[in-house]
């Protein structure tokens, strides 16, 4: 299991253990992170699972595909290290990563 922390806009932190292979979105939903609405269920089709990765992690995870880049244009206040959490697969190396979740 990989320990992740979701940092919500109000400053609260949600810690969770997740099996590698799940998406960050699934980890957030299962941990009850309300700001990750993930309306479409993880198909890169709604833009409601926006998260912001730490700079070093953003560079290390697989780069976003073109459909995700298109969708990221439309999230509220995108950041340079924004991702759609449904498109980021959790790996063992992500242990202790802190993911910011902007308010929606």
């Amino acid at each position: 299991m990989v320990k992740l922390t979701f940092l919500e806009a109000d400053g609260s932190q949600v810690e969770t253990d997740v099996a590698p292979g799940n998406s960050l979105m699934q980890a957030a939903v299962n941990a009850g992170v309300d700001a990750i609405a993930a309306e479409c269920g993880g198909a890169c089709a709604c833009g409601t699972c926006h998260c912001v990765l730490p700079q070093d992690w953003f560079e290390r995870v697989a780069a976003p595909a073109s459909d995700e880049i298109d969708m990221l244009e439309f999230v509220i206040e995108p950041q340079p290290t924004s991702r759609l959490s449904c498109q980021v697969v959790v790996t063992e190396e992500m242990q202790d990563m802190v993911i910011s979740v902007p308010d929606t």
Binding site: V29, G32, D34, A38, E39, C40, G41, G42, A43, A45, C46, G47, D67, D70, M71, E73, F74, I76
Partner: protein, 413 residues
């Protein structure tokens, strides 16, 4: 093939009993340990949230079966459902963003998605509020109204028409065409309905051509003008532009009327929840989300498997048609506590009323905004809202859900 278990229910979605209460039937269907084979439609019906969600999210499950059915077979299927020999309908209604997959779907969805983001939709709030205030003002001297025909039916045509760039005075025409075309998707498909659907599509097409011509002469800040820009940039063809405009006008129309009616009905059936919402307006967001779950206005869609797939613990061959009963999944007790209770504060409330996967409803933010403005405005203006006729009849059929009429009394607050 599989052996059907003997079902202890009668699945007859056209019946009055099903219209009155589909949820008892859905619960019985969920209770059998495999998908239910609906022979009449050669479709495996899914009612459990886990199964419906898995199929909606499966990229190998498609809206159309072009990938594995020959053109000749497809024509034969089209004939079998009486979708043939209707050139306008075939060109502008049977082929569109909703019915496409792959490159076409991604390209068209990208063009339209940007128009329906929360930021774009929030620009409509003031216009929606003004329109709703005007309509409520007109009705406020009446002590009793039919919420469906006197109020709900007038709203979405104006709103979606305004987004697209249709003049307000033409909104009733949109409603008429939309209903004539959409009705033909119901089972039955008599030739008389077919002729009406085709005629409505032709009129709708000619209207849009005229409107396009006026926009081409002078572009405006509306969706139609921006679609022209995308067409001229080579992102969609003229046919795709027309089909997309029609789809936008139709997709958000009847379903919004239906969920406005069923949402109001739910508030009246559960007065404690209505009072809770009146006491705490901050609950409006979860209340609207719950209205969509409780009586999902588009409770049924289908997918075709493009390869052998396991669903609900069984393997199905490529070509299998699955029925996704969103209305049933949204009452699955495995996902929702007390699923048949209407709870304006329900959270989490991850339901499938807007579908899931790549075809997730583009208009969801607009629909939610409509509902938010409408129910907030009604609560602010009126009190003592109650059913004037407790016998509320819902539309028959599987693919739509909403009350035919909702007689209710109210008075100015």
């Amino acid at each position: 093939m599989f052996t059907d278990p003997a079902p202890n229910f009668n699945f007859d979605p056209q019946s009055a009993a099903f219209a009155a209460d589909p949820y008892t039937t859905y619960a019985a269907m969920r209770a059998i340990d495999m998908p239910y084979y609906w022979e009449e439609a050669d479709t495996w019906m899914l009612t459990k949230m886990a199964d419906v969600e898995a199929v909606a999210l499966n990229k190998n499950m498609l809206r159309n079966n072009e990938a594995f059915v020959s053109e000749i077979d497809r024509k034969e299927q089209q004939r079998a459902i009486n979708f043939h020999d209707m050139p306008y309908h075939e060109r502008y209604v049977q082929v569109n963003l909703l019915e496409s997959e792959g490159e076409t779907h991604s390209r068209l969805r990208k063009v339209v998605f940007r128009e329906f983001t929360p930021a774009m939709i929030s620009r409509q709030r003031e216009a929606i509020q003004t329109f709703v205030d005007g309509l409520l003002e007109e009705l406020s001297d009446q002590n009793e109204i039919d919420f469906v025909s006197d109020f709900a039916a007038h709203v979405p045509g104006h709103i979606i028409g305004r987004v697209l760039g249709v003049p307000d005075e033409d909104a009733p025409k949109l409603r008429h065409w939309s209903e004539e075309v959409v009705r033909f998707f119901d089972p039955g498909r008599e030739d008389a309905d077919k002729a009406r659907a085709e005629f409505a599509t032709k009129e709708f097409y000619e209207y849009l051509l005229d409107l396009l011509a006026t926009r081409e002469a002078a572009l405006q800040d509306d969706l139609l003008s921006r679609l022209i820009g995308h067409r001229d940039a080579g992102q969609l063809s003229q046919d795709e532009l027309i089909a997309t405009a029609m789809l936008i006008l139709m997709a958000g129309h009847g379903s919004t009327i239906d969920v406005l009616g069923s949402g109001m009905h739910a508030l009246l059936r559960f007065p404690d929840q209505n009072q809770r919402l009146r006491d705490d307006a901050a609950l409006m967001k979860t209340a609207v989300q719950e209205m969509f779950r409780f009586e999902s206005p588009l409770p049924y869609f289908h997918r075709f498997a493009t390869e052998e797939t396991e669903v609900g613990g069984r393997k199905f061959p490529a070509g299998t048609r699955f029925g996704l009963l969103y209305g049933a999944a949204n009452h699955d007790p495995v996902r929702f506590d007390n699923p048949d209770k209407f709870d304006v504060g329900r959270s989490p409330n991850r339901h499938l009323a807007f579908g899931g996967g790549g075809h997730f409803c583009l208009g969801n933010h607009l629909a939610r905004l409509d509902m938010d403005v409408i129910f907030s405005s009604i609560n602010a203006r009126f009190s003592g809202i109650e059913l004037a006729d407790t016998k509320v009849e819902y539309k028959r059929g599987l693919s739509v859900r909403g009350p035919k009429a909702l007689r209710m009394g109210w008075k100015r607050a």
